[in-house]
Symmetry: C2
């Protein structure tokens, strides 16, 4: 105790900001004029124009809160922002690695920004061929440019053409051949108007994830607006931030009572950015519910929800003291660490300093598993074996 | 240890089923034909007709799951039901007391059924004078008939004409004079299309609750469909049951970041049927959010959310082992016990037996506070003082 200097921090939840040319560099000529590109727009009268993404004819601003690395809380805000307001580590992988060195972080797992956490912006694309090309362009950017800048420092996460299960399977196989380690997949897909995870529609996708050993990451909020807590229109954004774990609670509950995990016994699922302190309560509640309510519903009659959690899921946290105090109840091997650069939960450039405080009273071997070994095992990073996925034990 | 025979179980969350004449016995003649009355309707082809409430021209069935006391889990279901399918303790207060005696429960706090947990059925009334008369009739039933059948066994909970703040204030004063101890008030009122709790609209109501010392009970689900988790259309009802605590999480978060508690320092709020094991996680998360995000929002800059929790709220549980193991983190004086008769969470007729198991390893004085003393203090039951409300410490 505490965090030892030789332990390497491997973060399972971080974010990259796509530079302005990600799609313009990669899309065929015919699609460049309608594919995602950065334009200037005056969104707030009297303020300098913001830089926003224009995709087909829709505008998508970045909000400042999504790139606060290096800012003090007194400088946080929800307004649209510009690249020059961000530090380069947000959008430049070499600068990101330099920022990771400052922060004492060895490796990280970056989710997309403009495409949203799991690429649902492309569900909105009117031209689905273009949308598929955009998904592929993002994945090529992640694999060939972002992660290729430092392959031992970035765990590659890809997105899927979610409107097409067969194309999603093909994209899993295409990207795993180039090094993909995880798929960002929506929590509560039904909230996006997609088939729910109870639907056999997703079986080929889940099977492909099993076969390739890729982790299915379910990032808080990836299910879109209808998966989010119902906030008062005159309420505070802080309520949403406080409740971020609720999305993971909903996703976990939906999985635990679905047939999917019984059909896909090797599926690995990450609950990204959802915290861990609520897990023992929710899993106990799920078991109690299963005891009383499995008879009149299409619920597996033999396997308790808690068994499914311990076999399939892992959670992550930055500073969840209560969760950490209850790590034995959760299962230490189910716990991973996150940095959340460049979002507001992150302590950059003091992530390691904060981790030293957080882990102050935890035995070395347990700290090592939570900050590094569990993530390396789950994401097979660096690759220890080129054979197909193995069942976790 | 464990639960001692001399400790009396005081439950803060139970349900009554209104008998068919509750409104017909009390409404003025002109409104009887449109006020709530029981009619027979064949809702499922080929099955015996169900008894349903008809109010104005709208039909409201009971589902079987809301009156399962005495049934085995193998007999649970979601279909519409009839009075003769229920045991009399559901709708007859004398039979209820007999069932409480069998169960070893001294006193309980009953929420409405047909009007929903906090009377939101009457928000749907087209004739708002009739709707107000229906609210008053329900409260008169609760005070003059249900609780009057055994005043030392029932803690009276009233409902309000939620569409009218001044009428709500008047109803608080009218009913407190007849012994009301608590108000069932919606969690997330904005989810019902009402002003949010951030809105000054509710100040007179909250002030009246403070002045009279009535507890504001926020029952899971009282905020209606839009306050509930987004369930997959082909998912399982068990997911909803597992996630019931989420409504309390949302309600608590909304309060902790609102100005209401700073304006109403003596308001007492009960989180009904929401469990307790999630409380330490959520309160820690709220404090972390407050530290980083209070600067750019309309949030009190001096008082942490955790201080508001410890001053204003209490939670309840039946068998939340993880929550109980963490009772010191939550605060033992914030914890009350519930029976949930006649719903499916209840262990009737074995509530006391289950409580003996649940409290097996807890010191006597702590058990006594959680099962009896905290509820008696919070609800001032039996009345210890006829003076205005006192601040909790």
């Amino acid at each position: 105790m505490p965090l030892q200097p030789w332990m390497k921090l491997v973060s399972v939840d971080d974010h990259l900001i796509e530079h302005p040319m990600v799609w313009q560099d990669r899309l065929p000529e015919k699609w460049k004029p309608v594919g995602p590109r950065i334009v200037e727009r005056e969104l707030i009268p009297g303020r300098p124009p913001a830089q926003v993404w224009l995709y087909e004819d829709r505008i998508y601003p970045y909000i400042g809160l999504n790139a606060v690395a290096g800012k003090k809380p007194e400088e946080y805000g929800l307004e649209p922002t510009r690249y020059e307001d961000m530090i380069p580590g947000c959008y430049d992988p070499k600068a990101r690695v330099a920022d990771m060195d400052i922060d004492g972080v060895e490796a990280m797992t970056c989710f997309p920004s403009f495409p949203r956490f799991c690429g649902t912006v492309f569900l909105e694309g009117q031209d689905k061929e273009l949308a598929k090309a955009c998904v592929q362009a993002y994945n090529d950017f992640v694999l060939d440019e972002w992660c290729a800048a430092a392959p031992d420092r970035f765990i590659p996460v890809v997105i899927l053409p979610l409107w097409d299960a067969q194309a999603s399977v093909a994209e899993i196989h295409r990207t795993v051949a180039k090094g993909a380690k995880a798929i960002s997949f929506p929590d509560l897909p039904h909230a996006l108007g997609l088939p729910s995870l109870h639907n056999a529609h997703w079986d080929p996708v889940f099977s492909a994830a099993e076969e390739t050993g890729l982790v299915l990451c379910q990032h808080f909020g990836s299910g879109g607006e209808k998966s989010m807590p119902n906030l008062a229109p005159d309420g505070q954004f802080a309520v949403m931030i406080t409740l971020m774990g609720m999305n993971s609670m909903q996703a976990l509950s939906d999985w635990m009572f679905s047939p999917a995990l019984h059909k896909h016994p090797n599926l690995k699922i990450g609950l990204s950015e959802g915290g861990i302190g609520w897990l023992p309560y929710l899993i106990e509640r799920a078991d109690i519910t299963w005891e009383k309510h499995r008879f009149y519903q299409n619920i597996n009659k033999d396997v308790k929800p808690s068994e499914l959690f311990r076999k399939h899921f892992h959670g992550c946290f930055i500073e969840d003291e209560f969760g950490l105090a209850n790590r034995d109840v959760i299962g230490i091997d189910r716990i991973t660490w996150e940095c959340d650069y460049p979002h507001s939960d992150s302590y950059w450039p003091a992530s390691r300093k904060r981790a030293i405080e957080v882990f102050a009273n935890i035995p070395d071997d347990e700290v090592h598993r939570m900050v590094e070994l569990n993530a390396r095992r789950l994401y097979n990073f660096p690759s220890m074996d080129s054979s197909p996925a193995q069942t976790e034990s």
